[in-house]
Symmetry: C2
């Protein structure tokens, strides 16, 4: 077997057939991939259901880090995006852009991780593509995954459905992924205590939807962190999103790293967390549903949707322990490139 | 407006919101994109229909060339892959990996081209993602598109359905795209006569399916050219794919370039051509259906599916004008990297 990726692996010819057979199919091929046609043909949703469709490209650096790797991220990220619509994620595509010279052993490890994450989420990798670029024109491996899910009849979630009085929940601690990547990249000493939270959250979402059927929306606070997510939700629903600083779960090691580096932990990326807005009377049920599974142990109710002040547009706001309230801005510029 | 892509455009914060609003939404946003949720929620296929799903990443260099650009290629390539299953392509996703410093004007031009190609194909760009990598870690712009289509009830196409006696058709001249890219890249003088064939072929496929309802399969001969496609079909159906060299349409300028460069034109990439296998008694109808539209004027019947010789596996074979027959090999190694 070839030990590194070569340009010929993207040729459409016999070398490409070899990388497909020996690397990709070895990791995760089902019947659709093996059929050898250009498109996978797949069962459609049931009566009254709709399709959820989402895409995400992954360029994280480094490719391997505590708690995950680019492959796990690529599967979980798209599974989570599809699941936020209330859909059951079903099918994933996978497009690789490989750089000439990339170690084949690393690619195999990434594919094995993708297969494992897909198994855990209960989705199938059904179609793929591989391109190879010359040395120096890429950075080892970039992965795009797109996902298709089925939205049950009657389910309609979205940021525009949040109402004044609703409660805001997060499924766990903030900032773990971003600080992990930062610590890998800068070889900082706090890395021992922190690992990426990369995880598929579709099962967590399904539990919440069952326990809190009037749930308004889910959103995963990835790039830009919780702050960007709350700003987006405020803009969508036209109300203030007000959170209590003391109620937001943050690991001490992550908070310490943020303090040292001058970051706001609420602008740091997460890859295995969900923000959820529910009517007040279902907030406890939603919280218990989150906590009932592996990825929701640290879930918390962190705030509330409030009427926007008439003299300004809808905002994300944070109440500090000393009783003040400040505007929680979206990230401006770039905090840490290539976090996912 | 920013004049080049900056790392902050991939941040998840306010700069990313700006590039989305001012570049992507300006070019092609429909309601699903503008809704601001992580996944598009879309109507499902009708009763008895299935989903076709395909993905393709585009790394072509240069980004602009006679007859098209990376954006047109990205839309047409995935539309065509979805359509080969017999599906009506419906929805596209679009994931950009941009390099810091890429001119915003070029990105706008690419997005406009994608919008135009999507209009022509009758598909909608419904979900997207943008990542930015540091200068020197990419090559301007890479695009992934994934596509979802609906397969009508009763339609089941695939290379494994080809039968001995079936006819093999191509929808037009071979090698135009590959030779165009080559001539751009090497600034060769034959480029005046040649342009890329990048085109959406879903309407052509729909015409053929109506005229020749027993059609076995479609396949677009992209990387690896007609030779790779015929080899794949032979392997899928277990029979020889035999074509007549004189019947394969090739532009004289393209043939001349291939002769000069030592390329086999049948291994050169196409981006707006379809190979199609139909029962013999529907071959003329399929041919006329191809020729009835813009992208099928040069369509031809080029060969036939024949029983494989018992002493060897199924092969792709070509009959030369002087009466010989030779094995048409798949491309080995790489002829021209980053053709699409």
């Amino acid at each position: 077997m070839d030990e590194t990726v070569m340009l010929g692996h993207g040729s459409g010819g016999s070398m490409m057939k070899r990388i497909i057979d020996e690397v990709f199919f070895a990791a995760y091929a089902g019947d659709e991939l093996r059929s050898g046609n250009d498109a996978a043909v797949l069962p459609a949703p049931g009566p009254g259901e709709r399709i959820a469709f989402s895409t995400d490209s992954f360029v994280v650096s480094p490719h391997f880090f505590p708690g995950g790797d680019i492959g796990r991220l690529a599967v979980c990220g798209t599974v989570n995006d599809v699941a936020t619509s209330g859909a059951r994620p079903q099918y994933l595509s996978c497009g690789f852009v490989l750089e000439e010279g990339y170690p084949m052993a690393d690619l195999r490890r990434i594919c094995a991780s993708m297969a494992q994450a897909a198994d855990e989420a209960g989705v199938r990798l059904v179609t793929g593509d591989t391109k190879v670029v010359n040395r120096g024109k890429g950075d080892g491996v970039f992965i795009n995954t797109s996902g298709v899910g089925f939205v049950p009849a009657g389910v309609s979630l979205g940021g525009d459905r949040c109402c004044v009085g609703d409660r805001i929940l997060v499924s766990g601690t903030m900032g773990d992924h971003g600080i992990t990547i930062m610590s890998c990249r800068e070889a900082l000493s706090f890395n021992a205590d922190v690992q990426s939270d990369a995880a598929p959250l579709n099962h967590l979402i399904a539990r919440v939807m069952e326990a809190a059927p009037a749930v308004r929306c889910f959103r995963d606070p990835t790039r830009g962190g919780l702050a960007s997510t709350l700003n987006e939700l405020a803009a969508q629903c036209g109300a203030d999103m007000v959170v209590e600083q003391d109620d937001i779960p943050v690991r001490p090691a992550v908070q310490g790293a943020c303090d040292m580096l001058g970051y706001d932990v609420l602008q740091v990326a997460n890859e295995g967390k969900m923000v959820c807005v529910v009517p007040a009377d279902q907030a406890q049920a939603a919280l218990q549903a989150m906590r009932a599974g592996d990825y929701g142990q640290d879930a918390a109710i962190i705030g509330e949707v409030c009427a926007a002040r008439p003299d300004r547009g809808p905002k994300a706001l944070i109440r500090t322990p000393i009783g003040g309230t400040r505007i929680l801005d979206m990230l401006v510029g770039e905090q840490l490139p290539r976090i996912c």
